[in-house]
Symmetry: C2
Subunit: 106 residues, 2 copies
């Protein structure tokens, strides 16, 4: 997901909807340091329903930005979510575009 | 459109989809200094189609964040778009939330 914007372009042209969407930006942001997080922790932190979180996770996993693994336990299954290198790069590009946008407002 | 987030909450919970959406954020950002802009200038700067720009302008006008006026000229009509005080406040709240998000990444 390369940043194809040039310095002449408006900073919002460098934003990618897959990453910029509010909830997905929250998910990537929480995972950015590389630690895995449990599904339930993401859901509570971002105040989502199971369905809503699942929908956004699917978009991010399909785009190769996250990986999700299931841990079979005693009678329950836990889902862990981790950012991929591509996800980290995409989030960094988003943050750079947001910095440019905010900089234009200073 | 008050900012209902608390300092304990993840910054993305303070984002409003009406303002945060990539194209609408671009429109509000271009209008933030209060000057009116012509429809065609917004369309070219943000590389939109007429239909796409119209759709996003309608969302922003319906939310009270923009005003649009039509200027009847010699054989052509020009549409001018201006940010409202509510639009300026909503954009400032968005920028504050983005600053908090970026600050968490520093």
């Amino acid at each position: 997901m390369p940043d194809t914007s040039s310095p002449d372009e408006h900073p919002t042209l460098g934003l990618d909807d897959v990453v910029h969407q509010r909830t997905r930006l929250g998910i990537l942001s929480l995972l950015r340091d590389g630690a895995s997080m449990q599904f339930g922790v993401l859901r509570e932190t971002l105040r989502l329903t199971d369905g809503n979180l699942n929908r956004h996770l699917k978009v991010l996993v399909d785009a190769g930005l996250l990986e999700s693994t299931r841990e079979e336990g005693k009678g329950r299954t836990r889902t862990w979510v981790t950012i991929t290198p591509a996800g980290r790069a995409a989030l960094d590009a988003e943050i750079a575009a947001l910095r440019a946008l905010i900089g234009a407002h200073d």
